[in-house]
Amino acid sequence: MSDPENLAEHPHPVALLLPWYLSAQLSESERREVDAHLGGCTACRDELAELAELRTRTREMLAAAPPPSAHLRHRVLSQIRGPAGVADGARRRGLMESLASATQWLLAPKWAPALALLLIAGQLGTLVWLGMRVDTPSPLISRAVTRGAVRLRVVFSPTATERAVLSGIRALDGRIVDGPAADGAYVVELAPATPQVIAAKIRALREQPGLVDRIELAAP
């Protein structure tokens, strides 16, 4: 708004109370102050008369303004569904109060032992269920054959450690793609290489003491 929001230039600040003096909305002390001022100030009496006229005309104009359409009342009241006294809001409140009552009833001390037993039974049931779950991994893990790769069927020594087995496979530059079979054989796939290189790798694996019982070429 462009109007100044203070009235420092107004010679009679008490005149600012005149609108509420007219509507009898001042406190007793304010009313007395305005009365006292009006008694000796012609300008403020004129201001009061002007205000009274504008106020009356404003009230007449607003009172004569067109009312809202006739169906507005129905629009509002139709959204307040339900019988008198029990509408949407009340129903919502009623539901919340019912829930609160039910919770209070359930948490009453007399139900504490039963709730505790129920909780313990639930925990036991969960534990039993988890204990009965047996993970049965598939004995064979098949993977895709890399083009040009060589597959070896390797039976590791039963006394070989896992670390030694992994170390041997790494030395082959290969990966286990199948196994173990019934005889304990794994299928190890080697990266594509010349026959000489592959033969050298197999030889190196065989030379490791106590690691491999048998190595043979596997069908692709």
Binding site: N6, P19, S23, L54, T58, L72, V76, G85, V86
Partner: protein
């Protein structure tokens, strides 16, 4: 607790029944109505609605001149009254509370329209509508009320609002200040300047042959 609630509810219903036969309304009666509405008394809500429908509509039209938009906002406001009656603390007049709700709804609508890029912002619609007397209007056809209306709609939304609250609703200035979140002195000066603007517009819209306000004032 249940007995106390039931007692409160029955008290509210009795108050509403008493109000239904009364003709004079007071803020105390209105507070009882709101208490009954808080207890989901539909009949009391209808009574409260009857008291406020037109007033809220007129108040909203100080923000939005489009009648159908104002009606939409009346619906929003009165449903908020129904749903929020429990939150009315009674520290202000019922009218201040209801007009405060209506004000928020109107300002939200104005912001929404501003964001949507409407060509005519809602709060300026009045100025556009009242851009001056049409050529077909003859001075003889204009009644004092029409001139007053023309003068009123050319005011800014802030001036229309404050004159509505102070002149029509007779709200005390501390309640207007609380409702509009303004300092007390700002409310007083805004009414003063709104009155000056209204007087100026009225003189501008008053034809020379019609009675004018005393220009010396």
């Amino acid at each position: 607790l249940h007995i106390a609630r039931r007692r409160d509810r029955e008290q509210s219903h009795e108050n509403c029944a008493a109000l239904r036969v009364g003709t004079e309304q007071s803020s105390v009666d209105e507070q009882a109505l709101v208490s009954a509405v808080a207890a989901a008394d539909r009949a009391c809500f209808e009574r409260l609605y009857s008291l406020y429908e037109r007033r809220v509509f007129q108040y909203l039209r100080t923000f939005v001149r489009d009648a159908s938009t104002a009606e939409e906002l009346v619906v929003d406001t009165m449903l908020a009254v129904w749903n929020g009656a429990r939150r009315f603390t009674g520290t202000s007049r019922v009218s201040t509370w209801i007009f405060g709700i209506a004000r928020h709804k109107a300002l939200d609508a104005v912001r929404r329209h501003a964001r949507s890029g409407s060509h005519v912002p809602l709060e300026d619609a009045a100025e556009t509508q009242a851009s001056g007397p049409g050529p077909e209007d003859s001075a003889q056809q204009r009644s004092l009320a029409t001139m007053m209306e023309r003068a009123f709609v050319t005011l800014s939304a802030e001036h229309r609002e404050i004159l509505f609250l102070a002149f029509y609703e007779d709200l005390p200035y501390p309640e207007i200040a609380a409702m509009l979140s303004l300092p007390l002195n700002t409310v007083k000066t805004r009414v003063y300047y709104a009155k000056l603007k209204l007087k100026g517009q009225l003189e501008r819209h008053t034809p020379s042959e019609s009675p004018q306000m005393d220009p010396a004032r």
